[in-house]
């Protein structure tokens, strides 16, 4: 039930993002200044923004920004985190000690604070936003990977592989990582939901995606000044953001139940 609802929503948003140029009624950048802030109508179901741009089209293109941020950040921070966690677990000793203290520090910053600090120095922009979110995101994967490997290492099939003469690398890639995949996958799903919300949050604060590019977060930021006269600027991008975050969370929930993963 959860999985079906989540996957359905996710597929819907995915299809919308992929087919954006085909289904968007207008260009997300086309302006019609005279009709700025017009309420939803048959021609523009979600209304127009201050510059008279079609909000539906901008919401459709905004899905691309959310997916791009989610996939890129999770792919990079996941890979880096697994590598660092794996190194800490396999080498142990001082390397482990040093790497885990760095993980501790990265996790000592609450929520998106570290990303905000990095954006303050790097300056706004989508590329910088990806860097900031990767710097924040890898530590969770590193800690999880290390914990998984340390507990899996004690299993009999690993002992058997060692007895059979398998090297460290082979044991890591053939035995340890595949068995750690389930919790990592669940972590990736929940991580993706928080990256999507974090991207929108930073863009909402004016630190992320810059105008005129359509991000749901920056659209919400633009809507703030017009809550009284044009609430449609706020309602639709936020609704989409919530539904996408909900979809990814539902998939994560369902994966966790199916794969029987206990989170922390």
């Amino acid at each position: 039930m959860k999985l079906k609802a989540g996957l359905f929503l996710l597929a819907l948003f995915g299809a919308v993002a992929a087919a954006a140029p085909l289904i968007a009624p207008c260009s997300p950048y086309a302006q019609d200044l005279l009709r700025g802030l017009d309420a939803p109508s048959a021609a523009h179901p979600m209304g127009l923004d201050l510059l008279g741009r079609d909000i539906l089209s901008r919401v459709i293109y905004g899905a691309r920004v959310s997916f791009a941020a989610g996939f890129v950040v999770i792919a990079i921070s996941g890979l880096v985190g697994v590598l660092i966690g794996g190194m800490a677990a396999v080498w142990g000793g001082r390397v482990d000690m040093l790497l885990m203290r760095i993980v501790d520090v990265a996790q000592a910053f609450p929520g998106i604070l570290l990303a905000i600090a990095v954006m303050a120095v790097l300056g706004p922009g989508f590329g910088n936003l990806l860097i900031a979110l990767c710097l924040t995101g890898w530590a969770g994967f590193a800690r999880l990977t290390r914990g998984q490997i340390l507990s899996l290492r004690e299993r009999e099939y690993v002992t058997a592989a060692v007895a059979a003469g398998a090297g460290n690398w082979r044991i890591l890639t053939r035995h340890l990582l595949p068995n750690a995949a389930a919790p990592l996958l669940v972590e990736a799903a929940f991580g993706m939901a928080s990256v999507i919300v974090a991207e929108a949050g930073l863009s909402f604060l004016g630190l992320g995606v810059q105008p005129p590019a359509p991000s749901w977060g920056s659209m919400l930021n633009e809507g703030r000044a017009f809550l009284l006269i044009a609430p449609h600027l706020t309602v639709f991008p936020g609704l989409c953001l919530m539904l996408l975050a909900l979809a990814v969370t539902l998939v994560g929930d369902a994966l966790r139940d199916r794969l029987d993963v206990k989170r922390r």
Binding site: R101, I102, D104, V105, A106, A108, F109, P110, G111, I112, L113, L114, I116, A117, V118, M119, A120, V121, L122, G123, A193, V197, A200, G201, F204, L205, G206, L207, G217, L220, G223, R224, L227, L228, P231, T234, V235, P237, G238, L239, L241, M242, L243, A245, L246, T249
Partner: protein, 306 residues
């Protein structure tokens, strides 16, 4: 006491790491803060003067040493835009942030915990289904959407509550709901499942067998034992709550540290940005420390383990 001492000892490397990380983020990331602050049109002499003032002309290690020494004296430097000490600027904003965070925390706890117990007691009932639905929404709804929606409904539509600012208890309600909603949703789900789990235990059956009324079984016995995971989760969620103040304060023009940080970023006032990041991060580290201590106090098994 020994637990407290051991935990304090663990606190030191984390504090040092956070202080160092903030320095590295501000100083090592490419980009010229002086040029960013003055604009590209500034003449070289102006830039050199500001660089000297901020100590940016010294080698990195010397800057780091100076930074640590100043920090030990409680000196966070001076704001570039107001020329006032950074620490004073931030200290003036902490009461507003703490007020907001505590209100959100209390609001989340007093709505989520009783509802969670009720939902568990009437498992599968209408209330249970409704709370589960709303908690699912509550986890997914971003605060920077919920806040504006609340303004549209309660400030603009019904005209019950102020749109923004910090004047009296009425102005606190919407920001506290916005900030606390996510935590309330998580706490609600957790309380429900913790009470349900506890309800299966032998001591609950024993309490029932003794003929205690049902409300007493749930309130005293099931909730008492479900409280530990609830407190843990509140601790884990503190980070989200603290970083959430940045966004919530921005939505409602709430004059706290988070709002100050965003203003400082917009003005490219790097000493002030650095001070705000440091303040919020250290507050989080200390709050976690406090949660660990409370946890040990609630559960004697932890403090007697070592």
């Amino acid at each position: 006491m020994r637990y407290l001492a051991a935990r304090l000892l663990l606190l030191l490397p984390t504090l040092f790491g956070v202080v160092t990380a903030v320095f590295l983020v501000i100083h090592l990331i490419p980009g010229d803060p002086v040029e960013a602050m003055l604009g590209e049109t500034a003449v070289a002499a102006e830039k050199d003067a500001l660089r000297r003032e901020l100590g940016l002309d010294r080698p990195l290690l010397a800057q780091y040493g100076g930074y640590l020494a100043a920090l030990a004296r409680g000196d966070l430097g001076a704001s570039i835009s107001t020329r006032q000490p950074v620490l004073g600027e931030i200290a003036a904003r902490w009461p507003a942030t703490l007020e907001l965070a505590v209100a959100a925390l209390l609001l989340a706890a007093v709505t989520a915990v009783p509802l969670g117990v009720l939902a568990a007691a009437r498992r599968g009932g209408a209330l249970d289904n409704a709370t589960l639905f709303f908690s699912l929404i509550g986890v997914a709804v971003p605060s920077f959407w919920l806040g504006p929606l609340l303004i549209i409904v309660f400030s603009i539509g019904l005209a019950w509550l102020p749109v923004s600012g910090r004047e009296g208890i009425a102005s606190l309600i919407l920001p506290a709901v916005t900030l606390g909603a996510g935590m309330a949703a998580i706490l609600l789900r957790l309380t429900r499942s913790a009470v349900l789990e506890a309800a299966e235990d032998d001591y609950i059956r024993a309490a029932r067998a003794r003929g205690l009324p049902e409300w007493r079984v749930y309130l005293k016995h099931a909730l008492g034992n479900a409280l530990l995971p609830v407190v843990t989760m509140m601790g884990l969620q503190l980070g989200a709550l603290l970083s959430g103040t940045v966004i919530t304060e921005t939505i409602f023009s709430w004059p706290g540290v988070g709002r100050l940080m965003i203003e400082a970023i917009e003005r490219r006032d790097y000493p002030l940005v650095q001070g705000c990041v440091l303040n919020i991060a250290l507050c989080y580290v200390f709050a976690n420390f406090a949660v660990d201590i409370i946890y040990a106090w609630l559960d004697p098994r932890i403090r007697l383990e070592r």
